[in-house]
Every structure is written in C-alpha cells, then in structure tokens.
C-alpha cells in the first residue's frame, strides 16, 4: 500500500478533487450565494440542514405545547390562543379539527423533518467526509439538491398550515380513508395534497442524500481507512442511509396510490364507505394494504432516526471516557443486525388489524429479536463508561442521558412487541410513552450530544457550558416526568388521540396528572428555547476554539484547521494508520488515527 503514492494510477479522477488540489492555497472566490445559499460544501449543507431542522423542531414542539394545553386544561379558555390561531381557537379554545391537525403535524414534522432530515442531514453531511478523509461528498451537486428538495418540501408542508381548510389532520401515518377522501374531514381536502407533495419532495431529498452518503463512505475513504477503522458514527450513518434508500421508495409507492384514489377515481384503499348517509362507489379497496406499505417504511424509519444517534453517542462516549469503545465489532454487528431486522418487523404495528395470529407470532419473535442487538449496544456503552476517566462535558451528559432513555424506552418495547399484550396496550398512552422515550427524546439527546460536541468544528467556537448544563438536567428530568406517568395512563387503558378526557368517567381521574404533564411540557419547551439561544449566541459570541483538537480525539475531522475551507485539508489528505479508538493506550492519553503504528506498540485487537 505504501507504494501507491508512486505507482498507483487511479482509474478515475473526479473533477472537483483535482480542482481543489490545484487551488488549495489561493482558494477560489466565492460569492454570498455560492457560499451560504447554493453551497456545494458538505459542511455548509450540514449547517443548512441543522438550522432548518431546528426551526422545524421549534414549530413541532410548539404544536405539542398547544395540544397539551387542551389536554391539561380542557375546561379553561386562553384568549391569547385566538390571537395567534384565529378561528382555529375561537373563544380561546382549540377547535377539534385544529387539535387533530396539531397532533398530525407534530408527528409528521418531528419524525421526518427534524429527526430524519435534521439529524441525518446534519451529521451525515458534516461528519462523513471529515471522518473518512474526503474533500467532499461523492457528488456535491446532488448533495446540494438534497438540501433544496428538503427546503422545498419544508415550504410546502409549512404552507399547508396556512390554507383555509387547514393542514392534514388524519394522523402522521396518513392512513386512508381519512387521507384518501376529501370529504372525510377539513384536513383531508387540500391539506392532504400539500402533505403528499411535501413528503414526496422530502423523500426525494432523503434519497439523494442517502445515495451520496453510501457512495461516499464506500468509495471515497482516504488511504489506510479500511472499513474496520471507520469511526462508529460513519458505520451508523451508512446503515441509516441504506435503510432510507430501501424503505422510502416503498412509502412513495404507497402514497402514489393514495394520490390516484384521491384524484383519479381508483379504489386501491377504499371500499364500502358511507359519507353523509350516501354510499360511495368505491369497491374492493383495502385500507390494510396501505398500512403494510406504510409500515414497511415506517418501521425502518424509527431506526433511521435512532441509528445516527447511536453512532454519535458511541463516538462521544469513547472520547469522553478516554477509553476505546467496548466491543467495536459487536457494535458494528449489532447495527447490521438492527438494519436487517428493521425490514422484518413492520406488522407489529398491525397486530390488531385482523392479522393472522400465526403470522402475528412470527412478527412477535422477530420483534423481540431486536432486543438482542439493542442489549449488546447498551452493554457496550455501559462497559465503555465502566472505570473510564469520564469528562462530563455537555455532550457526554447527553450521551449518558441517551443510554438511560434508550434503556427505559427499550424495556417497554418488549411489552409492546407481544401481540397478546398489544390487544390491551395498542393505541393507548403506553404506546405514546414508549416511542417518545425510545426514539423521540433519546434521538434528540443523541442530536444534542452531537451538536454540543461538534459545534467547535462547525463554527470554530464553543457553546456556553452553564446554559448547556441547565438544558441537560431540565430536559432529562422533564422528559421522564412527562412520559413516565403516561405509562400508567396507558396501562389503565386511556386511548391516544382523544380531544377531551374530562367527560370520560374512566379517565377523568387523570385530570390532575394531565395538568402536571402539560405544565412540565411547557417548562421543557422553554428550556429548548434556551438551547436555541445558546446555539445562535455562540455562533457569534461563543468562546473561540484555539486548538485544532479541543477534545483530544483521534479522528480525522480534528486534523483539519479550526475553520476548514471547502476541501477540508489545505494540503494533502492525511493517511490513516490505525482504528479510531486508541485512547489510553501504552500510557498515552490518545493516539490520532494519522500516527503510524510504532515498533514497540502493544497490539490492540
């Protein structure tokens, strides 16, 4: 391999690399437009994804505060609601239609636009080229398109909030007939079309991005960066991208058939429906068919959300414990196992749809199997921390918080994966509590950990630690206070998606608890605004980063200048000689990946 630099004649030379190699000293001039708007630099695209995702997160979070207001205080009116929502909250009380619209958009926005686009889009773009040693993505142009499709989808989805009949309100899962019949509800009219267009643009964005991430990781690694030396972030992002590329197209075909049912008179999903006492002509359709197509994406989707968080946490854990990650190959293997199983468990969302009980038991088995790789990962994070020299940076705290939440939420997954228990628990607050903890809050914790940790690389400054610690503790305690009680509500049988439980004798006992949850939700939301303030304040006023490697990490992104230009390394791309986790080896705190293996060095693995 050492001879490569003299004899190796690469088969292909992509133009952008040569371009940057020639111009690395006097960097080509960039205008405001090419640098900040239509940028092809992966680092700028990452920031675009991050900030768009943050705007969406604020809106999605605000939606939850608004509907929690209704759930916690169903007997009160808030005149200021009419000021901001107009006729959607006439008399200061959220209307039923708007309540469902808020719930639906909260799900759509957070699942897709924040935790898929915002999370993968940010960290895959930022970290893949920097950590594998590439000047940019395999196709910077497609990468730019990926962001702009995301932006376009965001604009369409945002626009649907402002149309007369309101945004789609039939649940984020877009089940027909509510999604397929304009007469089903106000939100099923234009709002559903906006939802479809917005999601189609989003899917194109996520496919363009995913193609690039996979091609970049597999083809553009620097010399010496074998797959077994790849940081776990890149492994996680690779599996995430593979899941997305294979599952999003199926959602697209499922939704395409909804379009035909809505506008072309087909009956793919519609049968035997009466609207206003009149029978519709649609015959022979199957609403369950949509659920199969939806959940074939929908289940991999939850891993698309959680795998990047797992990757970020693994990396941050090793760095801040000053120890190699425990069980590197087991970590990769369990990511792989999760990626495979992700495609084989979708029907556990459909246990009570009349699914054949035998088939159901197969899906129970496959679902419970996911506990094995998940437990391996948790074990490895705990053993990485075990007797580590832990630095409790904000990023590390969020990583530890992630593990805590992942355990708490994962355990209830074992309950819900059983088709018999699901008869009682399906569509209750138990499900809400489970998935919010295991993939909602914990993915957010992974994302926060990643932002605090890589902020110095993104902006050349640190975020404020005091604000970060407040952010962490309030969010962690708040998340448990919000979702822990919901388990009890769910066990008591309290169904999800209801507007007002106070009139319902079985669940009116929970009125104080609902008030409590809503109050905590508001506090937690306020603290997220503190984080947003910290983020933007620190971009301009944060403490400056003075060393290229502030966390004493081994990976390649810390060999670039504090503020790397387009092309990342001013000179040659560094060569890699070892894996990414040589911490605390042979009496040394850490050994960068770029350092050749010494003659007397002890063997690692």
């Amino acid at each position: 391999m050492a001879n490569d630099s003299f004899h190796g004649h690469p088969e292909v030379v992509t133009t952008h690399e040569v371009h940057h190699d020639e111009h690395h000293v006097h960097h080509h001039k960039e205008t405001f437009i090419t640098k900040y708007v239509f940028s092809q630099d992966h680092k700028m695209i990452a920031k675009q994804f991050l900030i768009t995702g943050m705007i969406w997160a604020i809106m999605g979070g605000l939606m939850s505060v608004l509907f929690r207001l209704q759930l916690g205080y169903p007997d009160q009116t808030f005149p200021w609601l009419e000021d901001i929502l107009g006729r959607w909250a006439r008399g200061g009380k959220i209307s039923v239609e708007n309540y469902y619209a808020l719930v639906t958009m909260h799900g759509t926005v957070l699942v897709f636009f924040v935790l898929t686009g915002g999370l993968s889009g940010t960290f895959a773009n930022l970290l893949i080229p920097l950590q594998i040693g590439a000047r940019d993505m395999a196709s910077p142009f497609l990468n730019m398109l990926s962001y702009w499709f995301f932006f376009g989808g965001s604009i369409v989805m945002l626009a649907s909030l402002f149309i007369q009949t309101g945004p789609f309100s039939g649940g984020w899962t877009f089940y027909p007939p509510l999604s397929a019949l304009g007469d089903a509800s106000p939100g099923s009219k234009a709002g559903a079309d906006y939802w479809i267009i917005g999601m189609a643009l989003f899917i194109i964005s996520s496919l363009l991005g995913g193609l690039n991430y996979i091609a970049t990781i597999l083809n553009m690694r620097t010399k010496g960066m074998s797959m077994s030396r790849l940081p776990l972030t890149c492994w996680a992002l690779l599996f995430t991208a593979i899941l997305g590329v294979l599952s999003f197209p199926v959602l697209l075909s499922g939704v395409l058939l909804v379009v035909f049912d809505r506008h072309a008179g087909t009956s793919f999903y519609l049968a035997d429906i009466f609207v206003g006492g009149k029978a519709l002509p649609n015959e022979g359709g199957s609403a369950i068919l949509f659920q199969h197509l939806f959940w074939f994406l929908g289940h991999p989707e939850v891993y698309i959300i959680i795998l990047p968080a797992m990757g970020l946490v693994s990396e941050i854990m090793a760095i801040n414990c000053r120890k190699p990650i425990f069980g590197y190959m087991a970590m990769v293997g369990s990511l792989f196992a999760i990626a495979i199983l992700a495609f084989l468990v979708w029907a556990h969302h459909m246990f009570v749809t009349g699914l054949n009980p035998f088939l159901g038991s197969v899906f129970v088995l496959l679902t419970l199997l996911i506990a094995v790789p998940s437990a391996i990962k948790v074990f490895n994070w705990l053993t990485t921390m075990w007797r580590g020299n832990i630095r409790f940076t904000p990023a590390m705290l969020f990583a530890v918080g992630f593990v805590s939440l992942f355990i708490s939420g994962g355990l209830t997954g074992i309950w819900l994966g059983n088709s018999t228990l699901d008869i009682h628990l399906h569509d209750t607050y138990f499900v809400i509590a489970h998935f919010h903890i295991v993939m909602g809050v914990s993915a957010f914790f992974g994302m926060f950990a990643g932002i605090y940790h890589w902020f110095p690389k993104m902006y050349g400054r640190y975020m404020n630690n005091s604000l970060a610690y407040i952010h962490f503790w309030v969010t962690l305690v708040g998340a448990y206070l919000i979702f822990w009680p919901m388990h009890y509500q769910g066990l008591a049988g309290m169904p999800r998606r209801y507007f007002d439980y106070s009139q319902w004798l079985s669940f009116s006992q929970f009125s104080d608890l609902n008030k409590f949850i809503s109050t905590v939700a508001m506090i937690v939301f306020a603290v997220q605004l503190l984080f947003v303030f910290n983020f933007f304040y620190s971009i301009f006023k944060g403490r400056r980063v003075t060393s290229t490697n502030p966390w004493h990490a081994t990976t390649l992104e810390w060999t670039t200048p504090v503020r790397p230009g387009h092309g990342n390394w001013p000179g040659e791309i560094p060569e890699v000689h070892r894996w990414a986790y040589d911490y605390g080896k042979d009496g040394r705190d850490f050994i960068p990946q770029t350092e050749p293996v010494g003659p007397n060095e002890s063997k690692h693995h």
Partner: protein, 191 residues
Amino acid sequence: MQVMESTVSTQRKKIHPHKFTLWIGIGSIIMMFAGLTSAYIVKRNQAEWSSVIIPKIFYYSTVVMLISSLTIQMALKAFKERNMHQYRRLITITALLGLGFIAMQITGFMQLTEAGSRLEGSGAAAFLYVIFGLHALHVLGGAAALLWMLYRAFSARIRSYNPVPVELAATYWHFVDLLWIYLFVFFLWKV
C-alpha cells in the same frame, strides 16, 4: 504532476462514485416497484378483483425496448473505440427508440381504455396504468439523458472522451429495459 497524482491516489476508488451512486439509486427504484407489485399480489386475493386483457402492442414495445438496449450497448462500444460518428448515430437511434417505446405505451393505454378497462375501479387495470405509467416516466428520464448526450455529441465546443457519462446512461437504460421485462412478465403471469 507528481504531487497531484499522489494526492489523488490517496482516495481509493475501485468503482467510480457516480456509477456506484447510480447502482444504489437503481436499488431504490427496484424497492419502489417491488412495493407496487407486492401491493398487486395482496390486492389480487381480495374481493371485487377484476382482470384485464393486455393489448398486443405491449409485446411490440418490449421488442423495441430490447433493440434499444442493444443499440446503446453498441453506442458505448463505438464511444470507447473513439468512433464518434457511429456513436452519434447509435445514440440518436436509441433515443428515438425510447421515445417510440413511450408512444407505444400511450397507444396501449388508449387501446385499453377503448376496450373498457379504465383506471377507475380496483382491479388489475388500475395497477397496470399506474405501474406501466411510472415505468414510462423512468424511460422518459432516460431518454432525456440521452438527448442531453446527443446535444453534447453534436456540439462543436465540447470534446469529451470521458466514458463515464455514456456508461452511466447505458447502465440506466439496461435497467429500465430489465425493469420493463420484469413488469411485463409479472402482469402476463399474475393477471
């Protein structure tokens, strides 16, 4: 030159990244059609299913598609041998065959409609329109790429001997060809 070469060779590339990207993209298109055809299989076993008689013209369009696959392969060969004259002729023929294929698909749709198999309803015809239509869109995308290459091949200003774009187009074209054969056989078999 020495410096540049050594910098470039630090990036290990067994396959051109754009080709690799195309292959993954093909995988994702396959998943989309797999979703649709599996939906067909699920739906077929349910009430109110109605069959459809596939017009003869789809057999002829299959032949056109197969020939176009042959011509684009010959175009790629001509390009690699720097036989630009031959390359231009073959790429033109391929693009025309692609457009001919789409025209034949539209004719097929019209014949189906005349025979009473309409999009409305829930039987095989609805699936046929959607699936064949979506495939035709993919062929149209390929034809657009071919026309762009045609423009490049005839443009006096551009002298490119980089085979990658031609190879990408050929791979994609063979893919839509194979995809069509899969879909056509699927419908003949399952209708």
